[in-house]
């Protein structure tokens, strides 16, 4: 039974996956992860993962659902054998109704009962097979997906920083789907194709050896033709997809810039450009579509020829007994087999490209799963409870890329409650200090200590709970305002959330939202202004009540009035906490207990604003060039 839904869109997925293969192996190549000791056995595997290994690992995910797998294969085999038996019974039935008065009802009745029973059984098995494969593949997909996502929460931040998020997301979504569709369903189809071919051969040869040879010899024709046509159309499909991509790019660019196009009265020229690509797409598309539409009529044509051939030779056989003595029913059997025999071959060629694509996807998923993880906490790691907030950098060196040292010999000592302002040109390593403090990255040399405990000797969780962080880009997730503020403390009551929001100067605008604290924010905080988003993030930290703050001030002014509130909220937040601020505002810098002036990964000056201005060094220069005006 042909399934018209089975082979939709395989071409597209093949190309989609081919293009994603470039950065397969770079998950393991992560510097700044504590050197070679972080490799986890699989380590520096730059070799492409072998097919066998992929199969073994996919099977590892299938194993919990082994019952389903076995059931689907058994059901599939049963269906095929039964289905192939049907034409034989029909043929025999026809042989029992030879002519007027020559119908053998005594034999026909049980035969038909048998036929009916077999059909019912075949249907049940087929349903069972479809059901099992479906369940198997979606449950496996689910497991694989949960693992892939979980991995993303465990990998060192470097992995997330270095990889395009789109690529990682597509591994969790598209690639995993592809494994389900292609590998599981594809493999089942491959299996049933092979069983069908074997079964057909078996039944044909048991019915009549010479006739079986006729069918077997004639069918390669059909396969050759199908293969040739696929080759032709694939070529022009690739070309079509290239131009289609070009066209989409053009549309995206120009429709996206429609306001610009309008303002410049550029419309006519934009249309000319579009039409040119559109014409090219027509030429290629017409050709590609024509070629690809040939495959069905083409195979049908060859099949028709074979059909006629089998019919003619069969009839000659009935009459002359050469090449084989046959009955009409047997000719009918061969006619249906001739029809059925070529189909699995065509299906297999289709499925194979799907399976190849699935293998590529599976590799991409497994490479993600093989990415190194953060080094686990040491067994004797201590819990930082109620930290005082003393922070010390002791001759710290760090580089993201080996050989290109970013931080060099950093020494900082912050007593509990001190405000430290980090100042310097962009790219001087200010944000990196934050990455190191939270152990998003580990230092290469030296040591960072909190309350006298080296970071590496504390549990990551307790360490991170000691810190509160407000970054320039405020992160909000899809959920209510309450949930977003309570992110650091899920059990916080509404009162606590409101109190934190009030302290963060966010209460007023939250109450003005349609549903107040229960307003659902879209991903990224959608409708809120940048300043309001930041206020929410401050409230979040306020609620978490950490001992040490890491703040990254916004560089550009967003909205003057909200900004004043943000500023006030920052001040409120910093009361009584040790704070490190990547500072852009003059007021923040002036009020700091210690300004750390960074340049090229070193701390070149330190001290208060007045001290540093008086010293007339780099800070004074920086201050004069950026704060003083040319006018």
């Amino acid at each position: 039974m042909p399934n018209p839904y089975a082979s939709v869109g395989s071409v597209a997925t093949v190309t989609a996956n081919v293009s994603g293969n470039d950065n397969l192996n770079d998950f393991n190549d992560l510097p700044g992860q504590g050197g070679p000791d972080s490799s986890n056995g699989r380590g520096a595997s730059h070799r492409a993962m072998a097919t066998g290994e992929v199969v073994r690992r996919v099977f590892g995910y299938v194993r919990p659902h082994l019952v389903l797998l076995v059931a689907s294969f058994v059901a599939s085999a049963a269906t095929i054998v039964l289905q192939l038996y049907v034409p034989i019974l029909i043929g025999r039935g026809i042989d029992l109704i030879i002519g007027a008065g020559k119908v053998d009802f005594d034999a026909l009745a049980p035969l038909l009962v048998r036929l009916a029973a077999i059909v019912v059984a075949a249907s049940v098995f087929q349903w069972l097979q479809g059901y099992c494969v479906n369940r198997l593949s979606y449950q496996t997909v689910r497991d694989l997906r949960v693992d892939a996502h979980e991995k993303l929460t465990r990998v060192p931040l470097a992995v997330i920083d270095r990889h395009a998020h789109g690529d990682l997301i597509s591994r969790v979504t598209n690639d995993v789907d592809q494994v389900g569709d292609g590998l599981l369903q594809g493999l089942t189809q491959l299996f049933s194709g092979i069983v069908t071919i074997a079964g057909t051969l078996l039944f044909m040869f048991t019915t009549s050896v010479p006739m079986a040879f006729v069918v077997v010899l004639a069918t390669p024709l059909s396969m050759l033709a199908a293969g040739a046509m696929a080759k032709f159309s694939n070529k022009s499909f690739t070309e079509q997809m290239r131009i289609q991509g070009q066209l989409s790019g053009y549309i995206e660019e120009y429709v996206g810039s429609q306001k610009l196009v309008d303002a410049f009265a550029y419309g006519d020229r934009a249309c000319e450009g579009f039409s040119a690509i559109n014409r090219a797409l027509y030429t290629v598309g017409e050709r590609a579509q024509f070629l690809s539409s040939l495959s069905n009529p083409g195979t049908r044509f060859i099949n028709n020829i074979i059909y006629g051939l089998v019919a003619a030779i069969g009839c000659v056989g009935i009459i002359t007994g050469f090449p084989a003595a046959l009955t009409v029913g047997q000719v009918q059997i061969f006619l249906s087999y001739a029809n059925q025999y070529t189909k699995p071959f065509n299906e297999i060629t289709g499925v194979i490209s799907q399976i190849q694509a699935a293998f590529a996807s599976a590799r991409r998923v497994f490479l993600l799963l093989d990415a190194p993880e953060d080094k686990p906490d040491a067994a004797d790691a201590i819990e930082l409870s109620a930290p005082r907030g003393e922070v010390e950098f002791d001759h710290v060196d760090f580089s993201y890329v080996p050989g290109r040292t970013l931080l060099q010999d950093i020494c900082i000592h912050a007593e509990p409650g001190m405000r430290m302002a980090l100042v310097g040109p962009t790219g001087c390593g200010k944000t990196t200090l934050i990455n190191l403090l939270l152990r998003f990255y580990d230092v290469d040399k030296g040591e960072i200590r909190i309350d006298g405990h080296p970071l590496a000797e504390c549990t990551r969780d307790s360490l991170r709970r000691a810190f509160g962080m407000v970054l320039q880009e405020s992160w909000l997730f899809e959920g209510t305002v309450h949930e977003n503020i309570a992110y650091g403390n899920a059990r916080a009551t509404r009162e606590q959330v409101e109190a934190a929001a009030a302290k963060a100067h966010a209460d007023t605008f939250i109450r003005a939202l349609p549903q107040g604290y229960d307003t659902v924010l879209s991903e990224g905080g959608g409708s809120l202004s940048q300043g309001q988003r930041q206020l929410l993030c401050i409230a979040r930290v306020m609620l978490a009540d950490p001992a040490i703050l890491l703040l990254d001030e916004a560089t550009s002014s967003i909205d003057t009035r909200t900004e004043l509130q943000v500023q006030a909220a920052f001040d409120e937040l910093m009361q009584g906490r040790t704070s490190f601020v990547v500072a852009h505002r003059l007021s923040t810098i002036r009020e700091a207990d210690c300004i750390l002036v960074m340049r090229d990964g070193r701390i070149v000056e330190r001290g208060t604003h007045d001290e540093l201005l008086a010293a007339g060094g780099f800070y004074a220069e920086l201050y004069n060039s950026q704060f003083a005006t040319a006018e």
Binding site: I251, P297, E563, A568
Partner: protein, 668 residues
């Protein structure tokens, strides 16, 4: 769908007729095949004549060959018609979108428009192709087989009449129940992507708050839901194939039994029963394909609706009607004359324009009589929005003057300047440019007179030259360099290896933010605009470049509108308009506004500090130390707002260091 086809099918009428006709031939041959085989068996075998068998065999081969030939023609016609119609639709869509105004484009949204031109058109294209190729084939095959079978024997045909609707019915029910699931499945997949994306973009926050478990749980729920829906769909669709098989082979059983009775009675021959079985199989298979077609057409008609939505949307912003044109021809000539001027001998051109027409869009034509820009109670609301984005804006700017527009995010600054080149039309009130309502100007002429630098510094892929030539396709290198000099961009463009021919990637990604901004400014200056609009266009420039830019633009003697969040950028303007929530809360010069406008003063205080803001109240609000800061802290928002209440520190421990510095956070 039909309306869409009616619009786009006519040029391909021949293909659409010839294609299915050719297919018809193949179908007829397909239908005849079982009959020929029946003959072969009944006649050839009955008479034991091998030559007859071979004769019929050859007939089969010829039929196959001829059928294939006709199909080729049909496939070609289908490809030509569907791809042709798709191409025409894309052209029509793209051209039409170009005529739409911002108001309409905003309603659709850019991503939606892109999907409509690409995948929706593809969907319709596919339906057209399948329509030509299969709409005839499968229903005809089904009906034809049925007819042929009925011709063999009416009584056996009854079995058909039961089996066919049964299969059709099953497909109908299953597909109808699946379609809502398909939508759900997409939503669940989107959710999975969303949770993953949030987890990645917020990786630092998730880890800093130690909420990895929470994220895992969120994802697990999303994944479970997706698997649940997918399995439910699978449960439904896995019924289809076995049901078809069951009905088909069940019917064969019935045919064999009933046929056996008739053969026994001599009413039928063995070959006829065989043919009957073959027809039966063909019909039922054809029905399966028809069901597939139904799915394709359902999808396509949804797409067709989405395409029509765009094509049926007429623009709200149109050029004035033809009768108004004649009147303006003089003005066209004047602008044309100026456009041909290359080297920027503006005054000469302006004089020429003044001679050509009194009411033309010409700088300096009749400066006293007509202000360059006048707004009279201009009010604008975005479609579907509850409030006005701009309300009752009235102002007047003389030719050659500079207007500064300042206000917080969302105060309506960009909306205000978008009304000038009619990117939006006012909801009520009016906007006049050079003494004439903008709606009375021929659209292209109006826009050619205005050089616009939008807020987003957007470049398109091509070269520096192709981007700069947007306003004038044949602008000479001299003119381009001149514009680049004014925009402070000449230096870095000169430093590019290919100079003006340096490639620009999509969106201008290969240039820094500041470089992009300067290029977009230069782009607006090419082609001698009479009005220059800078919509927050210097935000990425450092102070020196910004100042140099402004003084270079001043020398051009253009009517200029500057939108900014920086007081420093607008303080020298002849007129400053302070917007707050879409309303004008202050209008006047810098000094004037410092005195009268509380909001302007607040902005000035937060940005400029004491010496820039000279009002008495301002100074009193400032901490003493601020007075020592230089007048302009460009891009630096200085000192902490005394305007805001100071946090109450009584219940939080005061860090000791505060004492050292003494009153760091205090007021003066």
């Amino acid at each position: 769908m039909f309306e869409l086809l009616k619009q786009f099918a006519p040029p391909y009428r021949r293909c659409i007729v010839v294609g299915p006709l050719c297919k018809l031939v193949e179908v007829v041959f397909d239908l005849l095949t079982p009959l020929v085989i029946a003959r072969m068996i009944d006649q050839g075998i009955a008479t034991h004549r091998v030559d007859l068998v071979i004769h019929f065999g050859c007939v089969l081969a010829v039929m196959a060959l001829v059928g294939f030939g006709f199909t080729l023609v049909c496939q070609k016609m289908a490809a030509r018609a569907s791809q042709g119609m798709g191409t025409d639709m894309r052209d029509a869509l793209f051209f039409h979108i170009n005529t739409l105004s911002h108001a309409e484009i905003d309603q659709f949204g850019t991503p939606s428009l892109i999907t409509r031109i690409t995948s929706d058109v593809n969907q319709v294209q596919l339906a057209v192709a399948l329509g030509i190729r299969q709409l005839v084939r499968f229903p005809l095959l089904a009906v034809g087989s049925m007819v042929a079978a009925l011709l063999i024997d009416i009584k056996l045909g009854l079995i058909f009449l039961v089996a066919t609707p049964l299969i059709g019915g099953i497909f109908w029910v299953v597909m109808a129940r699946c379609i809502p699931f398909f939508k759900q499945m997409q939503q669940k997949l989107d959710r999975i992507a969303l949770v993953t994306r949030e987890g990645l973009s917020g990786a630092r926050v998730v880890r800093a708050f130690v909420r990895e478990d929470h994220e895992r749980e969120r994802f697990r729920i999303a994944a479970d839901e997706q698997a649940g829906v997918a399995i439910a769909v699978g449960r439904l669709t896995s019924v289809l194939n076995p049901a078809t098989l069951l009905i088909m082979d069940g019917a064969v059983c019935a045919i064999l039994w009933a046929g056996g009775i008739q053969v026994d009675a001599g009413e039928l021959t063995q070959g006829q029963v065989l043919a009957f079985v073959n027809y039966m199989t063909q019909t039922l298979l054809a029905i399966v394909y028809v069901a597939n077609l139904v799915v394709v057409f359902t999808k396509a008609s949804a797409s067709a609706v989405r395409i029509r939505e765009v094509l049926d949307r007429t623009t709200s912003i149109t050029s004035p009607s033809v009768q108004g044109r004649a009147e303006q021809e003089g003005a066209c000539a004047a602008v044309g004359a100026e456009r041909s001027d290359v080297d920027g001998a503006r005054t000469g051109a302006a004089a020429a324009c003044a001679g050509a027409s009194g009411s033309g869009i010409t700088a300096g034509a009749t400066p006293a009589a007509f202000p360059a820009l006048r707004m009279d109670k201009a009010t604008f609301a975005f479609a579907g929005a509850s409030g006005n984005a701009l309300q009752d804006v009235s102002l007047e700017l003389p030719t050659g003057g500079t207007l500064g527009v300042i206000g917080g995010t969302g105060s309506g600054k960009s909306t205000l300047v978008n009304l000038i080149p009619r990117l939006y039309d006012v909801t009520s009130g009016r906007v006049e440019v050079f003494g004439r309502d903008v709606r009375a100007w021929p659209l292209e002429q109006l826009r050619r007179a205005i050089g616009m630098v939008p807020q987003q510094a957007q470049l398109l892929s091509g070269t520096v030259r192709s981007n700069l030539q947007w306003r004038r396709a044949d602008a000479s290198d001299d003119e381009l360099w001149h514009a680049l000099e004014t925009a402070q961009a000449a230096d870095f463009v000169r430093a590019l290896p290919a100079g003006l021919d340096a490639p620009v990637e999509s969106g201008g990604k290969n240039f820094s933010g500041g470089q992009r901004q300067r290029l977009t400014i230069a782009r607006a200056l090419v082609g001698n605009p009479q009005v220059l609009i800078l919509d927050d266009s210097a935000s990425a420039l450092d102070f020196k470049t910004d100042a140099a830019l402004r003084s270079a633009v001043e020398k051009l003697d253009l009517t200029t509108v500057i939108v900014s969040q920086r007081v420093s950028s607008v303080q020298d303007a002849d007129l400053i308009c302070v917007l707050h929530h879409g309303k004008v809360v202050g209008l006047g010069t810098h000094e004037h506004l410092l005195e009268d406008c509380a909001i302007y003063r607040e902005i000035a205080v937060s940005q400029l500090g004491g010496s820039g803001a000279s009002g008495a109240t301002v100074s009193s609000q400032l901490a003493g130390r601020v007075d020592s800061t230089p007048s302009q802290l460009d891009g630096w928002t200085a000192p902490n707002a005394s305007a805001e209440p100071q946090p109450d520190t009584s219940n939080t421990p005061v860090p000791s260091h505060l004492d050292d510095e003494g009153g760091v956070s205090g007021n003066a």
